[in-house]
């Protein structure tokens, strides 16, 4: 079964610091990759997604992620975080080969941005 690892469980940054959250997945076939964000008290929403093509994808609110196939990674980055980025971030993977339509999620990273 495929799995998704997010190694950073809790990250604390000051405003304007750069952010990189790690995500690794176990499946070796073709995958679709996602980052979701959950702001305090809100529902999960899509931040960005990768299906094919340019491995550097840009999402909302200045976030971007890079797909590195050889490393089975899809790390999330932002050059300068804001207090409003405080949230929990989830990486998710969908296998294209198994026909399973559901996403497999990582354990999440809680980001706390201090003003």
């Amino acid at each position: 079964a495929q799995s998704v690892s997010q190694h950073n469980h809790h990250v604390i940054l000051s405003e304007a610091a750069s952010l990189e959250l790690g995500c690794n997945y176990s499946y070796g076939g073709t995958v679709n990759l996602f980052w979701y964000v959950q702001y305090p008290g809100q529902h999960l929403q899509l931040l960005l997604k990768y299906f094919s093509g340019d491995p550097l994808v840009k999402g909302i609110k200045g976030f971007e992620a890079e797909f590195i196939k050889s490393k089975f990674s899809f790390n999330l980055r932002k050059p300068s975080v804001q207090w409003s980025d405080t949230a929990e971030y989830f990486c998710a993977v969908k296998s294209m080969d198994t026909g399973r339509r559901a996403l497999t999620f990582g354990s999440g990273t809680r980001l706390q941005v201090q003003p």
């Binding site: 809100q42 529902h43 899509l46 998710a92 996403l103 354990s107 999440g108």
Partner: protein, 114 residues
């Protein structure tokens, strides 16, 4: 804008009770999903459905069942609630085959079993 509505935001039930969690989506999505969210474990898939009256087990289906009698509604059933089912339950939906379709989530139901 897609709306996924979960009928209860908070529920408190007793051990052994039968519990129904309801989810409705308004965008005619084929696919619906139930996840549970626990600290440090992320989201884990309980059940999903591709179509009316169709269901498939996810990664942690034990102790749960589902019902999809209408396309817009997907119910999660805890046949006999136990304390280890205390969790946040998230419903989600997506369009079509889902390969290029993101999930749309509801606000969640926080269930406490005492």
């Amino acid at each position: 804008d897609v709306k996924v509505t979960q009928s209860s935001r908070y529920l408190v039930k007793r051990t052994g009770e039968k519990v129904f969690l309801e989810c409705v989506q308004d965008m005619d999505h084929e696919n619906m999903f139930w996840y549970r969210q626990d600290p440090g474990l992320g989201l884990r898939l309980i059940y999903f459905s591709y179509d009316v009256k169709m269901k498939e087990k996810g990664d942690i289906p034990e102790g749960y069942s589902v019902s999809r009698e209408k396309k817009e509604r997907f119910s999660l059933i805890l046949e006999s609630a136990s304390t280890n089912q205390t969790s946040m339950y998230l419903c989600a939906s997506s369009f079509g085959t889902g390969y290029n379709s993101p999930l749309h989530f509801g606000n969640g139901t926080r269930l406490t079993v005492t």
